[in-house]
Amino acid sequence: MVPLSWYLGLSALLFTIGAMGVFIKRNAITIFLCIELMLNAANLTLVSLSSFFGDVDGQLFVFIVMTVAAAEAAVGLAIIISIFRNRESLNVDEVDTLKL
């Protein structure tokens, strides 16, 4: 049997890769992909703990997280489309109007 710590370790690794992508990438869509990766790493933690403890609540939470991720993807991609329409670029360094 696969021990619980392996699942949690894989989840930690995927989350870290996603966090690193948010820091080193400049393309808005790639940053968005890395956010999806971090959401999935958190989902893996919830599913593995739910299965190992025999409690269905964690899997329901993952279900809700997936629907929220779908809503977030729809709104986020709409924002990206309107940024691209205004600036012809997706480089996040150029979108700094709100920066102090």
Partner: protein, 170 residues
């Protein structure tokens, strides 16, 4: 047997996740993320979470990632620009930061107690955690309100996306 499957799919998931960071073209990054999501779905099966494994493929790889690929192709996104000079130090900060984050998480995981995965019942159906029937029962009894609120959230997201992506002056 299960350990071999876990290692194979975990290796695919980590390799394709790293590929997102290595690719400059966002379309190839999106395709790599689909590979990660598919192998995570296989890992959900080893956890006896069949319903979520199916949902992962249908909703994530099927709907969300298709939306991403559609937008990438619609916008004809230029390849990732080379770094801007004033931000260069941030790039070198990322790797120690990521190492610290990972060390922190593994430090916590080290203290996990060795518990075993409960076995599936022999007939396969019934009240086992992760089957469609157990999730459906919980979703439509104890969690009915969150379920309904989620549908309102989806509706708001659809309206919001249409408003945001609309052309000015239509």
């Amino acid at each position: 047997m299960e350990k071999v499957l876990f290692i194979v799919f975990a290796a695919i998931a980590v390799a394709s996740a790293l590929n997102i960071l290595l690719q400059r073209n966002p379309l190839q990054g999106a395709l790599s993320l689909i590979a990660t999501l598919a192998s995570l779905s296989a890992i959900y099966v080893t956890l006896h979470a069949q319903f979520l494994a199916a949902i992962q493929i249908v909703v994530y790889a099927g709907a969300i990632m298709v939306l991403f690929v559609f937008v990438i192709m619609l916008l004809n996104v230029p390849k990732d620009q080379p770094q801007i000079e004033k931000q260069k130090w941030l790039r070198y900060l990322a790797i120690p930061f990521a190492g610290l984050l990972m060390a922190e998480m593994f430090y916590v995981i080290r203290s996990v107690k060795p518990i075993t995965l409960p076995a599936m019942p022999a007939d396969g159906a019934g009240d086992a955690v992760g089957t469609v029937s157990s999730i459906g029962k919980a979703l439509f009894t104890d969690y009915l309100l969150p379920f309904e609120v989620t549908s309102v959230l989806i509706l708001m997201a659809v309206v919001g996306a249409m408003v945001l992506a609309r052309r000015e002056g239509d």
